[in-house]
Symmetry: C2
DNA sequence: TACGCTATTGTTAATCATTCTCAATAACAG
DNA sequence: CTGTTATTGAGAATGATTAACAATAGCGTA
């Protein structure tokens, strides 16, 4: 995936807010933009380290906040202690199906549910900003484990 | 609300698992069973205290785990630091609409969504056990605040 | 290019909800 | 009533995330 355009967007946004386009921020955005996984801050920390890029964990956390705020990533909490983050740059909106045995995460898209959610918001006079929709269960593989 | 039948259920379950029917467990179940709110462990701790019932926070946490396990309560995480718990004893299943300004929580029931969830589970071969479905936004009152 | 202002970083300590440890106590079966 | 063992309370420990702060690096300007 070509991350250049996103870096340009990021640069523009940072400038507009009088924030700086630092090497750490660039490397972190590149890392998450080129991944399709659901990463923890520590994952990013170690991936960068392997590539010889040093950025402290605190900086990763700070940068993720920034990226969430500007819609580059989505923060995900799937009931582990730690938060996960996913690339929100491209691809359509989806929610998650999570196996509580093996931790496998499947992404699903269900437009009918999205529409119903909007209706519920309208019904109660809410201006909706986001939603969390996670289905938990046992995946096919884990059901077939014979131990 | 008459909590007697639930206490009897609880007693039976505890005995079956060689666990003890202690005064703390009874008081905690009574407290949550007679509330319609979404309580934190600390809320329960202080409510009991006001009634002259002493139970440590650690015991509240331990008992909530037990009550979750046996379906008396549902654990809820709405993005605050602390977990909340709600009476699951009676009333139909619902999910939540949460105002990010004032923290107000509205319960909604949408059977069509429940059905679609089941279909998604089936589609991916999952045996579903639970789901989290939370809509976040700004409630009507908070939208009308003119400051 | 050099200078100066100030946002950012890394380090380390602090938070804070929750869990753990363990000795003292209370349930409950006999 | 007694013995066994689950439970409790107190306080320490954990673990993810945040905060404090001095050193540094971006970036606008001359
Ligand atoms: Mn995803
Ligand atoms: Mn509720
Ligand atoms: Zn699985
Ligand atoms: Zn509100």
């Amino acid at each position: 995936m070509n991350t250049e355009p996103y870096l340009e967007d990021f640069k523009r946004i940072l400038k507009k807010e009088n924030l700086r386009y630092t090497s750490q921020r660039v490397e972190i955005l590149k890392e998450i933009a080129s991944s399709n996984h659901h990463l923890e801050c520590e994952d990013i920390y170690f991936s960068l380290r392997e590539k010889g890029v040093d950025a402290s964990l605190a900086t990763i956390y700070r940068t993720m906040d920034l990226l969430v705020k500007h819609q580059f990533v989505r923060k995900l909490n799937i009931g582990e202690g730690r938060a996960r983050y996913e690339n929100k740059i491209d691809g359509e909106h989806h929610d998650h199906l999570i196996c509580t045995e093996c931790g496998n995460i499947i992404e699903f898209v269900e437009n009918d549910i999205e529409v119903l959610q909007e209706e519920i918001g309208k019904k109660y006079g809410f201006k909706l900003t986001k939603h969390i929709h996670q289905l938990y269960g046992i995946c096919e593989d884990c059901q077939n484990e014979t131990d």
